[in-house]
Amino acid sequence: MTKRATTLLKIVLAIEFIGLGAVISSRLLRPQPPWPRVAELVDTATADDFVQLREQAASTDQPGAWLALGQAYSVHGFFPEADLCLGRAAALDPGTPDHWFWWGVTLNRLGLTRGSSEKLQMAIDREHPETDECRYIIARNQLREDRSDEAEATLRKIGHNHLPGRYLLAYLMVHTNRAAQALPIIEQLADKYRDVHRLVQLRARAWEQLGKSKEARADRELADRLPETIGTDLAAEWLGTLVPQFGLDRQIANANPLGTPRGFERVPQRLREILEISYRPRVARILASLDMALGRPQAAVAVLEELIGRNGEKSETLEELARAYQAVDRPDLALRSRQRSLLYRVDADVCRRAAELLQKLDKPGEAAMRSLADYANGLAAYRNNRLDIAVSSLQKAIEANADHAPTWFYLGESLRHLDRAKEARPAYRRCLELRPHHGAAADALRRLDKPR
């Protein structure tokens, strides 16, 4: 009995030795997570995150841990290291489509287009929910390899509701001299997405190819006034979605929930800590606006002055600084800051506020500034194809200042596109009186005067 038990136990022990030995050896032989040699170049918060994610991947060897580490590396541009991590995640759990998807996106950024397309196809085969996105990136990979025929075949598999995919298909057709075939696709899209300038721009190119110069011109002019676009860099957009998940960016994202009525006071302090770790202009601007909201304009002035010192003058920053100066009762500095903001961009609100300051400080130029505000308003409306609003704003601008040639030009343009040629002509003529060499006004007038 004892002898039999001993034998049995020995057999069990032997089996255990073999099995557990295999477990231990596979455990010992698992790869060490890569570590970017210059990982310290990122801020310390992100570097700490890397350390934790790396330890997690090393200790658990779980696909999820490798995926997270790979994504964190990818987001910070450590693509070669991300490639290894995401490959490990896919090897450990090949059934999860996300592993293949993110690996494919990372290889796309590395320029390893064949590998990228293979991984994205694996994601498709495993029913990744973003099949069209995968196919789009595959098509872009194929274009990068000069395989436009294959890219077109891939794009044809994309669903008709995927705007970037359908746009790229039409684009390829136009740019391979098949404008007539592309036009129905463009028309269908332009019908559905009326404010997208890229579609109209592409249609103009197609008309040009078909020798229809009048239609091409009309579309070019329309494209100039349409505000929406099509995002075409989907690989980068997908990576962008990961940014708030890691390192300092996660801390920045987490600072927002602090902005509850009870936690509001803590946010600026947290943002200051974040700026100490790594200076980010975006964070500085949020901090300044919070300081203003919390009634600490002097602190906002300090933050914004430092921001300009570090990041150069920008129209938006100068306007924010002007508001802070105004709040600390320095209208003179506020006016100077606003006038500098207008050097970079003529914005209606900035003009209006500058006009108020001119009035307050009893300085000349208030009427001209208000006129400039109306011009900026009109131009913004024109660029968004809101032509009626453009006309009324520009006419208002002219009432205060009739000697600004661009106002007359855009008034002419707005009226012409509203088919009010009779009113457009004098506007162009006045523009040319003020600026005789204004080519666009002269061309528009010539076309209007040309017998149809």
């Binding site: 136990l9 170049l41 990122v42 390829l172 890229r198 970079y344 080519g439």
Partner: protein
């Protein structure tokens, strides 16, 4: 006795059978990872170290902040017989003029301020009064922006300083301006690259009198970065080239038909949406008497996540006559952003200097500046000059120290990490004579 021993043995074995998995289960997570991955991919471009020696020198003060130099050129601006350096600083919105001191250091003088992100400066005697004026292409915003923030600014030399005039405003972002007599009337007209962002144009501005220019649209396309002029068909007048690099990646030529009329020709298009056209200059690279085009691709600025790509590099579009151009790939330098031509080694042929903005900058050894040695038959051997500073977007060649050898000046635009190995304006003096 033996029975007790047997029982003990069974007990011991039993304990082992139970303990072994438990110990393994407890110990396994603590076991170190001793394995390693296959080789890690590296996509950066590295070339053999240049046998032609160069000495690196920072021009002006060392940058405290990541610099944004958008354009450099070597030019004798004050016409004193010595080469100066002119740089566009897009961070401080200034044009900087560097003159060489006797001790080899450089004196910095701001020429134009409040230039709202100057992209390019063209030095030319625009008003024919025998001094050099400066045309500045004002972007208005370094970042993607489709609004009307661009300007063509003239800094007119008045003998003691520069008077500022706006020649064209109310346009989208302006990336390049060039000057030449396009309509044969004896004055200088301009070509303008209205880069914009999603919308843009190629213009030529007809000189209609002092500081009066009438604009004419040549092409409606966003993203034009260069509009050089040259006589591409050898008929004695100036034609225009345009490098379009946004929605379309195309090279256009505008044949001058005289009297301000142009016939446009598409000479190349890339269907690769990502190719990233970054620069173009006309040059008679092969010395056969006609103008070829040198084109760089490697712009990754639209991506937040950049990496050098296998299709990046420098292309030579050889002019083979009748408006036909044959494409040759000369280099695969990752992130190539600018090219300049000079006989660097003094052997009588044209060599090339390439600057990279998007190599693999997390490595220390990847090339930011390289030169291509011409074997006389347009076969090129690649040499690495330097790996720092990184993020070079502009390069110029000229003899800055008067020793008869062409030197190199480049500018760094550090807008994307990593922010190390920074450099604003940097010169590499050619020590060919000391080889």
């Amino acid at each position: 006795m033996s029975s007790i021993a047997s029982h003990r043995r069974v007990l011991l074995l039993g304990i082992l059978v139970v303990a072994l998995p438990i110990v393994t289960w407890l110990a396994t997570p603590r076991l170190p990872a001793l394995g390693s991955f296959r080789d890690q991919f590296s996509g950066g471009s590295i070339f053999p170290a240049s046998q032609l020696p160069f000495d690196r020198q920072s021009i002006g003060t060392s940058p405290e902040l990541p610099p944004w130099i958008s354009h450099v050129q070597i030019v004798d601006l004050d016409q004193d017989g010595e080469a100066d350096i002119l740089a566009c600083d897009a961070l401080s919105h200034r044009l900087l003029w560097y003159r060489r001191n006797a001790d080899g250091t450089w004196k910095e003088t701001p020429l134009g301020t409040d230039l709202a992100t100057p992209a390019h400066a063209t030095v030319v005697d625009l008003d024919a009064d025998n001094d050099l004026d400066i045309l500045v292409a004002v972007l208005g915003n370094a970042f993607p922006d489709d609004s009307h923030v661009g300007r063509v600014v003239l800094l007119e030399n008045n003998g003691t300083g520069y008077d500022r005039h706006v020649l064209l405003e109310g346009t989208r972002r302006i990336a390049d301006i060039q000057a030449g007599d396009l309509d044969g009337d004896g004055d200088l007209d301009l070509t303008v690259a209205e880069f914009g962002y999603a919308r843009g144009r190629v213009l030529w501005l007809e000189n209609q009198g002092p500081r009066q220019f009438r604009e004419h649209e040549l092409l409606y396309a966003p993203g034009t970065i260069n509009v050089p002029m040259a006589d591409f068909d050898g008929d004695g007048d100036l034609d225009i080239a345009a490098n379009v690099t946004q929605d379309d990646e195309e090279l256009w030529l505008f044949e001058n038909l005289g009297k301000g009329q142009f016939h446009r020709r598409l000479i190349h298009k890339w269907l690769n949406f990502d190719v990233g056209g970054s620069g173009m200059i006309p040059s008679d690279l092969d010395g056969d008497g006609d103008f070829d085009l040198l084109v760089t691709v490697g712009d990754n600025l639209e991506y937040a996540y950049t990496f050098p790509q296998p299709y990046h590099g420098c292309f030579w579009f050889e002019n083979i006559g009748e408006w036909n151009f044959k494409r040759h790939r000369l280099s695969n330098l990752g992130g190539t952003h600018a090219v300049a031509v000079a006989d660097l080694d003094g052997d009588g042929d044209n060599d090339l200097v390439l600057a990279s903005m998007f190599n693999e900058w997390y490595r220390d050894d990847t090339a930011s500046l390289a030169w291509l040695e011409n074997d006389g038959k347009q076969g090129f051997r690649k040499w690495q000059i330097d790996s720092k500073p990184t993020h070079l977007v502009t390069v110029a060649v000229g003899d800055i120290n008067g020793d008869g050898h062409p030197d190199i000046v480049a500018g760094g635009w550090h807008v994307i990490p990593p922010y190390r190995r920074l450099g604003a304006v940097t010169a590499w003096t050619n020590k060919n004579g000391q080889r």
